[in-house]
């Protein structure tokens, strides 16, 4: 009994620690970035020697930063002032016990700058009406399509999902072996279900979430992808799966509902390697997402997109916030960033370069810009996103072609369990 009493006392202390750090305008700051973000961060540190910024290059892997910060918080030292997260959903874990890492940015970042970000990144970063992160880049989805093949075969670019489904049926008959993209994992969950407004990762606060995979917005997705998975025109393999990469390299992808980075990071590199039979240069173009019947908007989904977070324990929040703002809004980032910037003025700079890129069959900039402003606000960042993708693969991808309704139901059950086990109250 004595031991139990001691343990209770010990944990009562650990629950109520963490006083706000004392601010010091001259304190040095430490930032954690992944390898891709390192050059910009180092350039900023070099340009601001008086701020004594230490740039640590860390892994961007799922969970890597979160667990490292949790350990630093536990040790009470080595906590970074600013971090970049490649898996933005982890902001929700950082906001929860035992970490409580992010600093609320309202009042520290000007309203003018905040309003420059796409509304989607701001709303995903907002919990209890406080903004806790700044968007680095966007993975808004569009309909990538092989313009040359479409013209050769006399196909119309589908404007609605009914047309998309009809196209899939026709393609399976006329050109078996070709496909309209993949619905595996995050490409299906975000590119299709989120874009349709299906509530599954829909946090109302950081402890409440809405899940209903049997709602009409989910069922209508199942009605399109089920038959197309069955006839093989929608692949169930990951975009970076070896088999699917072979299909890309052989020019078997006719269209693909995918993120803004899909062309630059999948189609381009996979078709320019030596030995590939198919050269994609001059073939792919971007079209707006197809519309669901009865909807006015070409809703888009979001696959990927990194964020920046400032520590509430930072001894120098002013310099830390300034660093995070510079990493997202400085015009040089717009020029050097490899993916679509979340900050509007930088996106314009970025899109100018895309408009002149001869690899595309047509200038994708208007479509990409509109899609960035049309990301469906239905879903946001949650602590069970990884589980959501895993359970989606175990239900909808595995059994959806045979019995979509049962698969959606099973997915909903697993999502609810995943949400509850990560501390959410679920509404339907």
């Amino acid at each position: 009994m004595g031991a139990v009493a001691v343990i209770i006392v010990v944990c009562a202390c650990s629950g109520a620690k963490k006083a706000q750090a004392i601010s010091n305008p001259n304190a040095p700051i430490t930032v954690w970035v992944d390898a891709a973000r390192a050059p910009q961060a180092q350039a900023y540190a070099k340009a601001h020697p008086q701020e004594h910024i230490t740039v640590d290059i860390v892994s961007a892997g799922q969970g890597a930063n979160t667990s490292a910060i949790a350990l630093a918080e536990k040790a009470g030292k080595g906590i970074p002032d600013v971090i970049f997260l490649g898996s933005p959903n982890e902001v929700t874990t950082l906001l929860a016990n035992p970490i409580n890492y992010p600093l609320a940015l309202n009042g520290r970042v000007s309203k003018k700058i905040l309003s420059g970000f796409t509304s989607g990144t701001i709303s995903r970063c907002t919990f209890n009406s406080q903004v806790y992160c700044l968007g680095n880049d966007e993975g808004q989805t569009v309909l990538w399509y092989n313009k040359v093949l479409f013209e050769k075969w006399g196909y119309q670019v589908p404007a609605t999902f009914a047309q998309f489904k009809a196209l899939g049926m026709k393609l399976a008959q006329q050109h078996p072996g070709y496909n309209l993209g993949t619905v595996s994992g995050r490409y299906g969950v975000e590119g299709w279900f989120t874009a349709s407004g299906c509530p599954m990762l829909d946090p109302t606060t950081n402890t409440t979430v809405k899940i209903n995979t049997m709602s009409p917005n989910c069922v209508r997705v199942g009605d399109v992808i089920g038959p197309l998975m069955a006839n093989g025109t929608l692949s169930t393999l990951d975009l970076f799966n070896k088999t699917y990469d072979t299909e890309i390299a052989e020019g078997k992808v006719v269209a693909f509902i995918g993120a803004s980075w899909t062309a630059d990071f999948a189609f381009k590199p996979m078709t320019t390697n030596s030995g590939t039979k198919f050269d994609a240069a001059g073939k792919f173009a971007a079209a707006p997402m197809p519309r669901w019947s009865g909807e006015k908007n070409n809703w888009s989904g979001e696959v990927g997109g990194g964020i920046w977070i400032v520590s509430r324990q930072s001894k120098n929040p002013k310099n830390a916030v300034a660093f995070a703002v510079a990493m997202t809004t400085s015009p040089s980032i717009g020029k050097s960033q490899s993916t679509y910037p979340a900050y509007g003025p930088n996106a314009d700079i970025w899109l100018k370069a895309k408009a002149n890129d001869k690899w595309y069959a047509a200038d994708p900039s208007t479509v990409l810009r509109n899609a960035a402003q049309n990301v469906n606000p239905a879903n946001g960042y949650t602590r069970y996103q990884t589980q959501a993708y895993d359970s989606y693969n175990a239900t909808v991808i595995k059994n959806g072609a045979k019995n979509m309704s049962a698969a959606l139901k099973a997915w909903g059950t697993q999502l609810t369990q995943a949400a509850e086990s990560t501390g959410y109250t679920v509404t339907h």
Binding site: C11, P98, T236, K242, T243, R383, N393, Q417, S421
Partner: protein, 302 residues
Amino acid sequence: MESKNPLMVRRRGRRTIPWLFLSPYLVLLLAFGVAPAIYGLYESFIVSSVVGPSSFSLVKNFVAVLSDYRLPDAAKHVFLYLLFWLPIMIVAVFAIALAIDAKRTRFGAITRFVSYVPGAVTGSAAALLWLFMFSPQVSPIGGFLRLFVGKSDTFLSDNTLPIVLAVMGISAGAGGWIVVLHGALTAIPRDIVESASLEGANAWQTVWHIKLPHIRGYIAFILIVSTAQGFQVFVEPTVIAAGAPAQISQTWSINELVFSYATLNSNYGRASALAVLLLLVCLVLAIAILRKTRLYSTGAEG
């Protein structure tokens, strides 16, 4: 007063010397084995909530992990893996060791060496190697694999991974055990084997009644080490899952589920609770194997 007695001093010396020899191991065992286990046990009682203070509960974390919908699947995967891997490996290792022992020629030495070589490839590298072996597009046995794959053209999935890991485990682990068992077989006194054959025992009877009882302890050791290792399988499924994205669950094995609690959810209480349960299962199995095979029994008992 007593310590002046020379006999007592000698006796005490006799008691302390083994401890001196053991102490480096004991220090490491305490620092990296026992202490973390006790800390883990303590953590497993701390229930952290998303908001608000943590609390103490003897059961809450255990109930939460035991009712997690991912645990039955993870347990099934690990169980199937052990079911494929352990019996096949034990039989194969024993058979090859016997074959090498029966014909003590240069050929036997080469067989021993060749079977040991795959074990030199470390777990994560072996996982990558087998990832290619089980990808029909690049595998030398791709044509054979394609007999079992559908339209998706991928062999790897949650359900086929136990087979893949069993093949990996045997290729990587068998060699070392063959060397160990062969060593044990050569240690059996020749005269026992010879007198058995003089009494008219055939080869099979010699194996079953003479050789197997002599190396029973070694087989028990292989079983205990492999069972514990198998239950904690982590690196191989993690590496293969990273190489075959979205085909294999990130919480395929029990230990991966522990890892996911700790790194993705920062829920150390649940991670510890499941780790403690895993430790208990391995302990119970180890004790059962020890009793069944009488590993530590002395010669007097037979």
